[in-house]
């Protein structure tokens, strides 16, 4: 059965060009980039190039790029660095729809005596700017906001907040794990101090990611050890992963236009058809200000896992709006924060596209989904025909 993969906000396929670039470093060029022998030196040079490519995607300087192992590590490292740089400040500002990498980390810090303001979003997933600005104080060490939301794709006004943060001398970090490669990112223009991105969301392999740290920022390592990454991240470098990420950033840069046109059109087509063909369905998040590849759509009176498994029978991969794989049974905290009614929150599906998706694939989904929803509604005690 052909797989229709529309779960690209969860993870992406490794681009064949990326794998090709990696393979030599998984076979003959296995040297340690820190080694003295020229065998290791070759690898070191390839890493220099990868660093340049990554920096070009976000308009950073190469030595502002620190390679890490995942978006979660980048987020952890950014928070750690901000607090170490401001040991006397005890307040952090974030939103209430952040990824667990930020959310859970900050919740632990609350237990250690930090105060965290979780700025709420409205029913469209938009940040309450008023609360955000009013919560900024002399005691604020860090503002961390995701550039775009992984579930709804809603984009936050990063540049605007970064400017305000700078005015008040507050460090600003953005989790751009979902934004990178989908919309243009320019760290200089946006004025952010730190930024996270993760390789496996942009067709690089899992196990490699980036923390951008603005030049001049006093950075304390999260992962302490050897002198790798100029002493900013200990641990032998994931050479093949890093080299793959370099190539993936090249490709992502080349594909930004396509994201904004082809991919957006496919998403809009899928959205329009599903809304039309399936009654009592609704889109989550501000439609006009979303990532071009993301569609979060709720179907009343049915439950997400069941929808996913029936779609799976037809080869369609997507995500649900619940966090049930984690053992939690509530709708995701993002949908709860947006006050999406339980009625549709439990039945929310996220489709997230990539440049590999086609119109035929959208048509397949559009054919498969309406009878799936009908079948589940027919057995739902909450469905009022």
């Amino acid at each position: 059965m052909k797989i229709v993969y529309t779960d690209n906000n969860a993870t992406t396929r490794v681009a064949p060009e990326v794998l090709e670039e990696m393979l030599p470093y998984l076979s003959e060029y296995y040297g340690n980039p820190s080694s003295m022998h020229s065998f290791g030196g070759n690898v070191g040079r390839a890493i220099v190039q990868a660093r340049e490519k990554v920096s070009e995607l976000i308009n950073a300087d190469p030595d502002e790029i620190i390679f890490t192992s995942c978006g979660t590590e980048s987020d952890n490292a950014a928070i750690h660095a901000a607090l170490e740089a401001n040991p006397e400040k005890r307040h952090i500002i974030t939103s209430n729809v952040e990824h667990p990498a930020i959310k859970n980390t900050l919740e632990l810090l609350e237990k250690k005596g930090y105060t965290v303001t979780y700025v709420p979003v409205d029913t469209k997933g938009r940040l309450d700017m008023d609360i955000l600005y009013r919560s900024m104080s002399k005691d604020t060490a860090l503002i961390t906001l995701m550039w775009a939301n992984n579930e709804t794709g809603v984009i936050f006004p990063i540049q605007e907040v970064a400017r305000k943060a700078k005015e008040q001398g507050i460090l600003f970090h953005t989790d751009a794990v979902q934004a990178a490669g989908k919309i243009p990112i320019d760290v200089k223009d946006a004025g952010v101090d730190m930024l996270s991105l993760s390789g496996h969301k942009i067709h690089a392999p899992k196990g490699v990611a980036v923390l951008y740290v603005k030049k001049g920022l006093k950075f304390s390592s999260f992962m302490t050890g050897g002198h790798q990454e100029k002493g900013r991240r200990g641990g032998t470098e994931n050479t093949a992963g890093i080299i793959g990420l370099g190539k993936a950033c090249d490709l992502a840069r080349a594909h930004l236009g396509q994201m904004d046109t082809t991919v957006r059109e496919l998403r809009d087509y899928l959205e329009k058809e599903l809304l039309e063909k399936i009654p009592s369905s609704s889109v989550n998040g501000e439609r006009s200000n979303r990532l071009p590849n993301t569609l979060s759509i709720g179907f009343d009176a049915v439950e997400g896992e069941s929808i996913l498994l029936l779609m799976d029978q037809a080869g369609i991969c997507a995500s649900s709006g619940s966090a049930c794989t984690s053992g939690s049974l509530d709708p995701s905290h993002v949908l709860m924060a947006m006050k999406v009614p339980f009625e549709s929150a439990h039945g929310t599906i996220r489709f997230s596209l990539s440049t590999y998706n086609t119109r035929e694939e959208m048509d397949h989904i559009i054919n498969v989904l309406p009878p799936v929803i009908k079948r589940l509604r027919d057995m739902s005690p909450f469905w009022k025909k």
Binding site: E303, S306, D378, M379
Partner: protein
């Protein structure tokens, strides 16, 4: 994906006895929209207190559907007294097991069945014995204690798997852990 048994998959993909029943003799409802799963069980009962037919409507995940489907198959033809002896473990066994995180689906089946039979017999069960511990899912301390004993639960995590309690905001987890420890100490 949850690693479901073939039986679970079969009962999810081809659920038996789906749909509302016309003129049922007994109805049992459990769960709610906000909880993420709910089951409405319909029974036909003959003069000998024997269940002659059963059907269900379910809102929930694959294992909720499969548990409901299995339940209706299991109760057809047995006496009400035997039906009352059915436990959630029996439902899970019938399905060749459920992932631990999904055991609450079988609990839901047991619950709806007992409610239906008790209602049929005119027995009033106090809706919620004990004090509510988990606000998110409205679960009480007595419910937790009895689940710990019946299902040999060992931790708050286990309780969440069986009763969902603790699976929402998580505020009640510490209290649940205490209750589990007490109940285990006494057992």
């Amino acid at each position: 994906m949850w690693e479901y048994s073939n039986k679970v998959k079969d009962h999810f993909l081809n659920p038996r006895n789906v749909g509302a029943m016309e003129n049922p003799d007994a109805v049992g409802e459990t769960g709610s929209l906000s909880c993420g799963d709910a089951l409405k069980l319909f029974l036909k009962i003959n003069g000998n207190d024997r269940i002659t037919d059963a059907s269900f409507m379910t809102f929930g995940c694959a294992s909720a559907v499969a548990s409901s489907s299995a339940l209706t198959e299991m109760v057809k033809g047995i006496s009400l007294d035997d039906a009352l002896k059915l436990t959630n473990d029996d439902i899970a066994d019938y399905l060749d097991g459920l992932p631990k995180e999904k055991m609450h689906c079988s609990v839901m089946g047991q619950d709806a069945l007992r409610k239906a039979i008790n209602a049929y017999r005119g027995i009033q069960i106090m809706e919620k014995p004990g004090n509510v511990v988990c606000e998110c899912f409205g679960v009480t301390d007595l419910e937790i204690i009895s689940a710990v004993k019946e299902n040999h639960l060992k931790s708050a995590e286990d309780v969440t798997c069986y009763l969902k309690a603790g699976g929402g905001c998580g505020n009640c987890l510490e209290r649940i852990e205490e209750i589990v420890e007490e109940a285990r100490a006494k057992a």
